[in-house]
């Protein structure tokens, strides 16, 4: 090979690197391991972090994933392909994305879904940018954010939008839910509401949607896709429905995996589609008139529009979308409905049992779905620590860091995976630890 190139050694191939750039020094990096040694080392570390029952949600949920989902998603043909630039050689990925878009748009009851963004948090940022571009009639760049929208999403969105002159205005929550009367501005450009909200509570989405529409504000719905199997979809909220719907796809067949990789989904009314970020797949025909699939509306994207693109995003979260599409196909309507309703029932059982101890009571009284805030008689920080350290149980999220008025509160969740035995055991420990404290 060197001979064909016309050099005598590999170093000559680097002759265009100027001599005055120092040679890299990699002494600090250790010598190579075999696969066996590498897996052994990382297995030890993974083992160290293994825990038991999970009663923690707050944006990441411990659901059952059918074995087939990841067996299929990690087939090399899905796992090691890239963005389907050559559509004719990527019909598998493209058709799957088209099917995914269909499922997500239908879950949200909106016209169109894209092929995913990075995660729910950055997805909210992208959705806000999209809405601001789309709502040209608006007089300002102020976004009213419901007080119980996931605070991690709001912080992330703020990083993404604030340098474009966009201001996020937080509406204080009233008893844990969205109260338009608390909104400090009269004429928001965009309104953001989450259903179920961060505290697990159900918002009065019809009224909020109408309130936003009266102000000519676009409405962004932040949702948990699993709950859409039983809750009213954003497209049907109020008189005109939400304009854009975003959320994190993790509950659809993606392991919690420390929060990533997961995927964000983004759906909207058709009239906003040209402001949508990210890849979109369309169905078309080939030269013979047969059905085929291809990336479309690429004139929105960075590789064509450069500085005027709808976003700088190019990578989506294809592999996770592949898993979610397989998950939704296997679960189907009944599987998703029953999983969602089972989570609700399990959480109700958990709450009832905890309240029965007399050491916890619900902090808010609106109906909740599969998460709930409980005010506890004791130090919730110490409680969660002891639950992990002594029993390997994740006991929920102490809310003091997020809202000082909730510093004796825990946000708890019981998915379809939690058995009554697990819940009873947890409640017993809960009672015991708070009694001793």
């Amino acid at each position: 090979m060197l001979q064909s190139i016309g050099v005598t050694n590999i170093d000559e191939l680097f002759e265009e690197i100027p001599d005055h750039v120092p040679v890299a020094n990699f002494r600090a990096i250790e010598s190579s391991l075999t696969e066996m040694e590498m897996v052994f080392r990382l297995a030890e570390r993974a083992k160290q972090d293994e825990l038991g029952s999970c009663f923690l949600g707050a944006g990441s949920y411990d659901h059952h994933i059918p074995a087939a989902v990841w067996d299929l998603a990690t087939r090399g043909e899905f796992l090691t392909a890239y963005t389907p630039y050559q559509a004719e050689a990527s019909q598998g990925t493209l058709q799957l994305l088209y099917e995914f878009q269909t499922m997500m748009a239908s879950l949200a009851d909106l016209d169109v879904a894209n092929a995913s963004v990075y995660d729910g948090g950055s997805g909210l940022g992208e959705a806000i940018l999209m809405a601001v571009r789309s709502n040209r009639s608006a007089r300002n760049r102020k976004i009213a954010i419901g007080g119980a929208v996931n605070p991690f999403y709001v912080k992330t969105a703020n990083t993404l939008v604030r340098n474009q002159g966009i201001e996020l205005v937080q509406i204080p929550h009233e008893n844990g839910v969205f109260d338009p009367n608390q909104c400090p501005i009269d004429d928001p450009n965009v309104v953001v509401v989450q259903q179920p909200n961060f505290f697990g509570l159900l918002e009065n989405v019809d009224a909020i949607s109408n309130w936003a529409a009266e102000r000519n504000a676009l409405l962004i719905a932040v949702v948990n896709p699993l709950t859409l199997a039983v809750l009213k979809p954003p497209g049907e909220w109020g008189g005109s429905g939400a304009d854009i719907c975003i959320g994190d796809g993790q509950p659809l067949g993606v392991p919690m995996a420390s929060g990533g990789p997961s995927f964000g989904f983004l759906c909207s009314k058709m009239k906003h589609v040209r402001q949508m970020p990210g890849r979109i797949v369309g169905r078309t025909v080939d030269a013979n008139g047969d059905v085929g699939y291809t990336l479309t509306l690429q004139a929105r994207e960075q590789h064509i529009r450069r500085a005027k693109a709808t976003s700088n995003i190019c990578t989506n979260q294809g592999l996770l979308v592949t898993a979610a599409t397989i998950y939704m196909s296997i679960m189907g309507v009944s599987g998703l409905r029953n999983t969602a309703s089972r989570c609700h029932e399990n959480t109700k059982y958990l709450v009832a049992q905890l309240e029965a101890t007399g050491r916890a009571q619900r902090a808010f009284h609106s109906p909740y779905f599969h998460e709930c805030v409980l005010r506890c008689a004791g130090d919730v920080g110490a409680l969660t620590k002891s639950m992990i350290a002594d029993h390997g149980i994740l006991a929920g999220l102490p809310l003091g860091e997020i809202d000082e008025s909730l510093d004796d509160c825990l946000l708890l969740c019981a998915t379809e995976k939690r058995t009554h035995e697990e819940i009873d055991h947890f409640v017993e420990l809960f009672n015991h630890i708070l009694k001793e404290a």
């Binding site: 090691t80 990075y118 992330t156 995927f263």
Partner: protein, 487 residues
């Protein structure tokens, strides 16, 4: 191969995968007006139907595991399965993202090790692993540049310079940072036009975004001079790590005058591309920009690993993800780095460069025109099919489509735009000489076909599941979701 009906076409109302349907839960008590009235359009199929459908779909994909995939600038090298296995262990997969650090020492030690490795690889002071893709790394970099200038009380700088050949993400990122983009020319030899740079740079310059080796696939030889010019004007240098594979273990971006950079772990560190993602785009900075890094990072206090958040980095640009970014991708990258070790890393750049230069030499000998014939190829190179387009009427697009019939994925086409009818070819270090020779043969064969019957090549592909697709119709008659009627 026949096209496959959508999964909705095979759906039958009421059919389900019984083993996957938990017992229905009780929803009484929830307000009726908040409940869904009609079912969503989801497949109603058996588990086998779903398994077969997606198995069949997978077989309609080119992939690294199945095909040569020389997609320039995307570094489609082998993704070791061991790295995937390592990241798929229960302790990693089942970890809730809000588990406290004291119960996450295994994971945090992995992140720490990866941060340290990437510091060495880039020659920079500090690393944040959070950005979930290259483009998000770019955004983080741009935001840090902005935060730095504003902290210095300098609010006048509102321009980011990028070469005309830059990735589209560079100008798109500048816009997202609230900056204007100014383009600078590329000289005939592929290097940045220094005179143009001198004309454009000034008190409005916040920074410059460069890829090195550049998007013209050559090493930017005057990089230190460029760094001086931009620094002298008060601007900062951003390194787009898309092409880091070419110099891994040879030189460090930190020694080339860059202040901030991102790495594409799905390129250089071989994490799977997954049909379009996920990626990971960690950022590395020098001490100037360290205070602004996106949170969280992993630190060490006594013998414990801890999360570094706002309380340690009050000047941070903030969060870029709800949690910690694409944690699972980071573990895969660490696994790959451990298996390569320091000796393997140098071999990456050497073999990637050897393969690219060999393929360039062979294509050139076969009569194809290199875009920069006087320059050394890096880990990739550009050819222009302008002559074939003019003489035979067969364009780069047609060559690309016909290559698919030879079971090879096409190289990147029509990028950068300043080279007409171009292929950006990146064979990567993990391909054998035999595969490279087969690619040259395929290119020669296609040219022969074009000489004999140009229409045949222009109508390619011929052996794929579909013929050439009507993209104009796709954009004009939008069909973005299944509506129950056959297309």
């Amino acid at each position: 191969m026949p096209t496959i009906p959508t999964i909705f076409d095979t759906s039958k109302p009421g059919r389900l995968a019984g083993g996957q349907t938990p017992k229905e839960g009780d929803l009484t008590g929830l307000p009726d007006e908040l409940l869904r009235e009609s079912n969503p359009v989801l497949p109603e199929v058996s588990e086998l139907q779903a398994v077969r459908h997606f198995t069949n779909l997978s077989q309609q994909n080119f992939s690294i595991d199945g095909n040569f995939y020389p997609l320039g600038s995307c570094t489609m090298k082998y993704n070791p399965r061991g790295a995937h296995r390592a990241a798929s262990q229960p302790g990693f997969l089942n970890r809730h993202p809000l588990t406290p650090a004291f119960a996450s020492q295994g994971l945090l030690s992995c992140f720490w090790d990866l941060q340290e490795t990437l510091k060495t690889v880039t020659g920079m002071e500090a690393v944040s692993l959070v950005p979930m893709a290259g483009a998000q790394g770019e955004l983080a970099g741009g935001l840090m540049i902005r935060a730095y200038h504003e902290d210095c009380g300098d609010f006048e700088r509102d321009e980011i310079l990028v070469p005309t050949a830059a990735h589209g993400t560079n100008p798109a990122t500048a816009t997202m940072c609230g900056y204007k983009t100014r383009e600078i020319g590329v000289a005939a030899d592929g290097d940045v036009d220094i005179e143009d740079l001198k004309r454009v740079v000034g008190p409005k310059t916040a920074g410059i975004m460069l890829t090195n080796p550049s998007t013209c696939a050559v090493f930017e030889r005057r990089i230190l001079e460029i760094a001086d010019i931009v620094h002298d004007a008060g601007g900062l240098l951003y390194y787009d790590g898309a092409n880091l594979n070419a110099i891994l273990g040879k030189v460090c971006p930190g020694d080339m005058g860059f202040d901030v950079l991102h790495l594409n772990l799905h390129k250089t560190f071989a994490t799977p591309h997954g049909g379009g993602g996920p990626g990971a785009g960690p950022v590395a900075v020098n001490s100037l920009l360290q205070p602004y890094l996106p949170i969280p990072m992993v630190g060490k206090l006594d013998d414990q690993y801890i999360w570094l958040d706002e309380s340690y980095f009050p000047l941070t640009i903030g969060k870029l993800a709800a949690f910690m970014g694409n944690a699972g991708i980071l573990i895969r990258a660490l696994a790959y780095a451990l298996m390569l070790g320091r000796e393997g890393m140098v071999r990456v750049a050497e073999y990637a460069t050897l393969n690219a230069n060999y393929l360039a030499a062979e294509l050139s000998k076969a009569g194809f025109q290199l875009a920069y014939p006087t320059r050394r190829a890096t880990h990739e190179f550009l050819i222009t099919l302008n002559k074939e387009a003019k003489d035979l009427g067969v364009r780069a697009l047609d060559f690309a489509k016909r290559l698919l019939d030879f079971d090879m994925h096409a190289p990147t086409t029509y990028f950068p735009l300043l080279v007409p009818e171009c292929f950006l070819i990146e064979p990567t270090e993990t391909e054998t000489k035999t595969v490279l020779d087969e690619f040259v043969s395929a290119m020669c064969k296609i040219r022969e076909e074009a000489q004999e019957n140009a229409d045949y090549v222009k109508q390619a592909p011929h052996n794929q599941v579909v013929r050439r697709l009507d993209e104009v119709r796709a954009a004009r008659e939008l069909d973005l979701s299944w509506s129950g009627t056959e297309g």
